[in-house]
Structures are given as structure tokens and as C-alpha cells.
């Protein structure tokens, strides 16, 4: 192990970790948005949109992110639709994560009992008020563990974006390996960087889950 090499490389990794986090943040946010839209479409059984959503979910769940990114970045460019790599990466993460979030939210919404909806209706709430005050708060509490798992999943999936030349953690490691062939040092830093990002997050989510379970909203 070359300690001075490691020390010299750390700033590169810190910068790259910034991009990884940035991509994960926007990817998660957009995924949640896409997932929520899908959940609402499914909940209200909106005719045509429901079909489109089903097609989207099947496509998203049954194809790899790497291929989605290549298609989006290299493929579309050649028919005149050009996206920047950064846009592609976030779009790809949202395309992938949206269906996972949709599933988490759907399961949460389904866990809200029929009687809850009926008593909401019986005090004269509109469909939207029902969603806003009764269904969503309870659904979210149930969906938190699944959403948390998806956040971790998406953060890890960002490692793929190095393939479309974005300078994330993976990219920096590959770069250092390619230039200096210091594989052990580069990979050690890579594993360390992901540990620093993922370990606290995963511990926090576990704590959150336990808290939610202990509060115990159910009857």
C-alpha cells in the first residue's frame, strides 16, 4: 500500500462522492415523484394512464439500468435527441427507481383498510381529502421500510453511471487504476468511500424502522 498515493487521491474521491450523492439525491427525489404519480394513477384507476403505467413498470423492472443508460445516452443521441450524461443518469435512475417506489407506495396504500376509507367517506370527505388525510399518512408509515431500501438500492445503482463517463466514485477508481495501476489503493478507497456513504444511512434507516414499529399506529 502506498500511503502517499492514498493521501493524494482522497480529494479526488471526495469530489466524486459529491457527484454520487448529488445523482442519488435527485434520482431518489424523482423516483419518489414518479412512484407517487403511479400510485395515484393506480389508486384512482385512471383508465388510459393505468395502461401506460403498467407498460412503464414492466419495462423498468425487467431491464438493467446499464442498458437503459446506454440506450438513453448513446442511442437517442444518434436519432437527434441529445441529453447530457448528467441528465441521462438522473433520468435513468428515476426511470428505474420510479417503479420500485410505485410498488412500495402501492403496498402501503393497500395496507390501509377498507373500513378506514369508508369511515372517511362517511364523514363527508372528498376523494382527494381522503387521500390527503387518511390514506397517505397511514400508507407512508407502512411504506417507509420499503422506501428506505429503495434509497439504498438507488444510491448503490449510481455506481453504474461511470459507464457513460460521469466522474462518480466508480469512475475515479477506474481512472486511477487505468493511469497508475495502483489497484489495491484505488479499490480500498472506493470501498471505504461507499462505506462512509452507505453505512450511516443504512443504520439511520434501521433506527427509523424500529421507531416506527414501536410507535405502532395500528389497532
Amino acid at each position: 500500500m502506498d500511503q502517499s498515493f492514498i493521501a493524494a487521491s482522497i480529494p479526488l474521491y471526495i469530489k466524486a462522492a459529491g457527484l454520487t450523492l448529488n445523482l442519488a439525491f435527485w434520482g431518489v427525489l424523482l423516483s419518489l415523484f414518479v412512484g407517487a404519480v403511479c400510485a395515484v394513477i393506480g389508486y384512482f384507476r385512471i383508465p388510459v394512464l393505468c395502461r401506460i403505467m403498467q407498460v412503464y413498470i414492466e419495462l423498468s423492472r425487467n431491464t438493467p439500468l446499464l442498458i437503459q443508460l446506454f440506450f438513453l445516452y448513446y442511442g437517442f443521441a444518434k436519432i437527434g435527441i441529445k441529453f447530457e450524461a448528467y441528465t441521462c443518469a438522473i433520468g435513468g435512475l428515476a426511470f428505474l427507481g420510479g417503479s420500485y417506489m410505485a410498488e412500495a407506495l402501492r403496498a402501503g396504500i393497500e395496507s390501509v383498510g377498507k373500513i378506514q376509507i369508508e369511515s372517511g367517506l362517511s364523514i363527508g370527505l372528498t376523494r382527494w381529502q381522503l387521500m390527503r388525510y387518511i390514506v397517505l399518512p397511514q400508507a407512508l408509515a407502512v411504506a417507509v421500510p420499503a422506501i428506505a431500501a429503495n434509497v439504498i438500492f438507488l444510491l448503490k445503482e449510481t455506481s453504474v453511471v461511470s459507464a457513460i463517463a460521469l466522474a462518480d466514485l466508480m469512475f475515479v477508481a477506474k481512472d486511477l487504476i487505468g493511469m497508475y495501476y495502483r489497484t489495491s489503493e484505488a479499490l480500498l478507497l472506493l470501498v471505504g468511500a461507499y462505506l462512509i456513504l452507505l453505512l450511516p444511512l443504512s443504520l439511520f434507516f434501521r433506527y427509523l424502522e424500529r421507531r416506527l414499529r414501536n410507535v405502532g399506529l395500528g389497532n
Binding site: G113, L121, S122, I123, Y133, N219
Partner: protein
């Protein structure tokens, strides 16, 4: 003229299907203002379904429902607005678990009826006081017993100032020792002149609280009479058989 003026809820030839199966075969029925009507009948006879139709929770296939003389079942009126005038309490587990008792009660009046907060809070406190639960107003439903939950559910419905209250087997899933506290609240309500439509299996309660008993079997109203007559000398064989089962159980 005077008779019809007093009619609050009217049902004409109501039919309800589940798939191809007809559950209710053209029900004609009415409730006068201030009247307490108890619906009796064997399980699966359609009495709960009937109650749910009145609140728009079940779609009806034909017939009409009138509240205060105007049709509410033709799809033109908005159910959410009508439901504000029809209070309903269910069998169980219908409080919103993520809200405290007081939040449960305030939700409808504030969001659906858009009333002023301090006015509703005052009313809610009075109602909670009446059912003896004012000290529990900041508790979550999970901290209450079954009987307490049902009393809160009744208050939640009452706080909307409904014109009529529907009770769908509200004591059916309670432990025996909690049934009484809920029935007492309902009885008090009846004495204060609230119009009530009650589905129950508590025969003694039905006898003491009802102005009229409506006996339903296999999706039809078989018999309508005053409680004393119904329980002592039912007119139909089916009602007799139904009562026999209960007297045997008791």
C-alpha cells in the same frame, strides 16, 4: 300533508346486486324525523348492505333514495356533501389510527364542512364530556378500549350535526362487558330525539330503544311493527323462527 313533511328518509323499490346475485329485492321504506328504527334479521339477510346503500357506500341498481324530500341516489348529487348529513358508525376499527381522538373528531367538521375551529372544538368537548371521554381527547385510538373507541366513533359522527345516524352492528365485535357503555350512549341519543337507523343483534336493546322494528329476510322487508308486538306476537312465521333462535340462545 303533515305526515309527509315529517318523513326524513325515503326509499323506493331499492334493488342491489352483487354481480348477478340480487341482494335486495326492491325495498320500500321510510323514516320519520326523530324516529328510531331497528333493523333485525338473520346474518346475510341484507340489512347491513341496505344501511350502506343509504350512505352511498354501495351503488344501487335501481330505485331511489330521498333525504328531506330530495333525491340523493340519482348520481347528480355529490355523495360527499350528502354524507355530511348522514352520520354512520361501523362495526369496529374505524377510528383513524394516526390521529388522536380529538383530531379524529375535528377532521370532518373542519375539512369537509369547513367550519370554524373554535366552534367545532367547543362542540367536540361537549360531546366527549357527554360520553365520558373528555380526558382521553389527546390519546391515540390504540390506547383506548373497544368500547371507548366506539363511543369516540359516535361522537365523530355526531359532531357533523347529521340529520340521521346509521349504526351498523356497532357492538358486534366488542367484548361483552363493553357493549353496555356503547348502548347507553345510543339510548341517550335516542331519547334526545335523534333520528336513528340501527342494525343490531342486541334484542333487549332493540326492544327498549326502537319506535319501530323492521324485520328483513332474504333481501325483503318481511315485517314492520312496534317492538312490543314484534317481540311478543310476530305476524310472520319467519320472524317467529328468527326470534326462537335468540330465545334459545338466551
Amino acid at each position: 300533508m303533515k305526515e309527509t313533511e315529517k318523513i326524513l328518509l325515503e326509499v323506493h323499490k331499492l334493488k342491489k346486486n352483487y354481480g348477478n346475485k340480487e341482494i335486495l329485492h326492491g325495498i320500500d321504506f321510510s323514516v320519520h324525523r326523530g324516529e328510531v328504527v331497528v333493523l333485525l334479521g338473520p346474518s346475510g339477510c341484507g340489512k347491513s348492505t341496505f344501511l350502506r346503500c343509504l350512505n352511498g357506500l354501495e351503488e344501487i341498481q335501481s330505485g331511489s333514495i330521498l333525504l328531506d324530500g330530495s333525491i340523493i341516489s340519482d348520481g347528480k348529487a355529490e355523495w360527499y356533501a350528502i354524507r355530511q348529513k348522514i352520520g354512520m358508525v361501523f362495526q369496529s376499527y374505524d377510528l383513524f389510527p394516526h390521529m388522536t381522538v380529538i383530531e379524529n373528531i375535528l377532521l370532518g367538521p373542519l375539512k369537509a364542512q369547513k367550519r370554524k375551529k373554535n366552534e367545532v372544538e367547543k362542540q367536540a368537548a361537549e360531546l366527549l364530556e357527554r360520553v365520558g371521554l373528555l380526558d382521553r381527547k389527546d390519546d391515540y385510538p390504540a390506547q383506548l378500549s373497544g368500547g371507548q373507541k366506539q363511543r369516540v366513533a359516535i361522537v365523530r359522527a355526531l359532531c357533523m350535526n347529521p340529520e340521521i345516524m346509521l349504526f351498523d352492528e356497532v357492538t358486534a365485535s366488542l367484548d361483552p362487558e363493553m357493549v353496555r357503555e356503547v348502548l347507553d350512549v345510543m339510548k341517550e341519543l335516542a331519547q334526545q330525539g335523534m333520528t336513528m337507523l340501527i342494525v343490531t343483534h342486541e334484542m333487549n336493546f332493540a326492544r327498549s330503544v326502537a319506535d319501530r322494528i323492521v324485520f328483513i329476510d332474504e333481501g325483503c322487508i318481511v315485517e314492520e311493527s312496534e317492538p312490543e308486538q314484534f317481540f311478543t306476537a310476530p305476524q310472520t312465521e319467519r320472524a317467529q323462527r328468527f326470534l326462537d333462535i335468540f330465545s334459545y340462545e338466551n
